[in-house]
């Protein structure tokens, strides 16, 4: 039994939901051992930062995500006004993300932290995709390396990852 203040166990919850729907159990990614780790090479206040979010954010004028195994991503210029950010996703309640995209894609907040000198600067772009991609293989072998490649090209020192 979970205590009221415990975090919600979404793995257990989803397995129960799948069982109720008559689906076979989902095989969650389970990474054992030490994750790859790169220390930050300079202070945060001098670092260039990237943003990667899985909340289904696109910029008005871009093609939106579709709801069947979409593992594409959108390049969103770091100076994009928050009024041009949209949210679309099949698996979470979009109300708050549409009211304030910073709730899942805090580009504007990072811009203010840069203006305050708390971080060095933002890279030229942020990156957005729509999570809930069923195939962990496609994320690991295709999507993550493609975004990593962009971050390296943008010469960022660090990236903030915002799953939903």
């Amino acid at each position: 039994m979970s205590e009221p203040n415990d975090p919600v166990d979404y793995i257990a919850r989803t397995q129960k939901q799948y069982a109720n729907l008559g689906y076979p159990p989902y095989r969650w990614i389970r990474n054992e051992g030490r994750p790859p780790f790169t220390p930050l090479k300079k202070p945060l206040s001098e670092s260039r930062l990237g943003l990667v979010g899985s909340g289904g954010i696109y910029r008005s004028g871009q093609v939106a995500f579709h709801y069947r195994d979409d593992f594409s991503f959108r390049v969103i210029a770091s100076d994009t006004p928050v009024s041009e950010l949209r949210a679309t996703h099949f698996a979470y309640d979009l109300g708050d993300a549409r009211r304030d995209p910073n709730s899942v894609f805090p580009l504007e907040i990072l811009r203010s932290l840069a203006a305050q000198g708390r971080i060095g600067e933002l890279g030229p772009n942020a990156y957005a995709f729509m999570g809930g991609i069923y195939s962990a293989r496609l994320v690991r072998d295709k999507l993550a390396p493609a975004i990593a490649e962009r971050l390296v090209k943008d010469e960022v020192d660090a990236a903030l990852l915002v799953p939903v």
Binding site: P4, P7, V8, D9, Y10, A12, K16, Q17, W28, I29, R30, N31, P35, P36, F37, T38, L40, K41, L44, G50, Y58, S60, G61, Q62, V63, A64, H66, Y67, F71, V75, R86, A91, Y92, D93, L94, G95, D96, R99, D100, N102, S103, V104, P106, I109, L110, S112, L113, K142, L143, A148, E149, L151, V152, D157, A158, A159, L160, L161, P163, V164
Partner: protein, 135 residues
């Protein structure tokens, strides 16, 4: 990303999933799904959350650590009860039940569809990156 020299920190609102994925650095926020970076409209709190998260880039030394941040969801933890009990059938209402899986783009507003289509007609969307499934 870390293997390519980019240090990362991940926000998380789903402890068990993050534990299973085991990212290099993570901070946990006990918020309902869909609000990972903080409650809508509260720029001050969102800023504090991001600073707390980003500071771990300097302070976390043990790969795989998940640090719980002290910020609480403003309206209490009543959302958890709804989140813990998914509907028995797919067509029953729930705060985060899934919708139908359509293979066509799902625009937030109709004007976005028109804007995207005219841009596609004028030469494409270079900032939309579609990846091939094969090797």
């Amino acid at each position: 990303m870390e293997r390519r020299g980019v240090a990362t920190v991940s926000l998380s609102c789903a402890w068990s999933i993050t534990q299973s994925v085991s990212p290099p650095r993570a901070v946990f926020l006990d918020f309902p799904l869909g609000r990972t970076a903080g409650p809508p409209g509260d720029k001050a709190l969102q800023g504090r959350i991001l600073l707390d998260a980003l500071n771990t880039l300097e302070t976390m030394e043990e790969p795989g650590e998940i640090r719980a941040l002290p910020h609480r969801w403003p309206n209490g933890d009543g959302w958890k009860e709804r989140a813990r009990h998914p509907p028995a059938k797919a067509n029953e209402a729930s705060i985060d039940d899934r919708v139908g899986r359509s293979p066509t783009p799902q625009y937030q507003i109709e004007e976005d569809r028109t804007a995207a289509q005219s841009r596609l007609a004028a030469g494409g969307c270079p900032d939309c990156v579609f990846l091939a499934e094969g090797a």
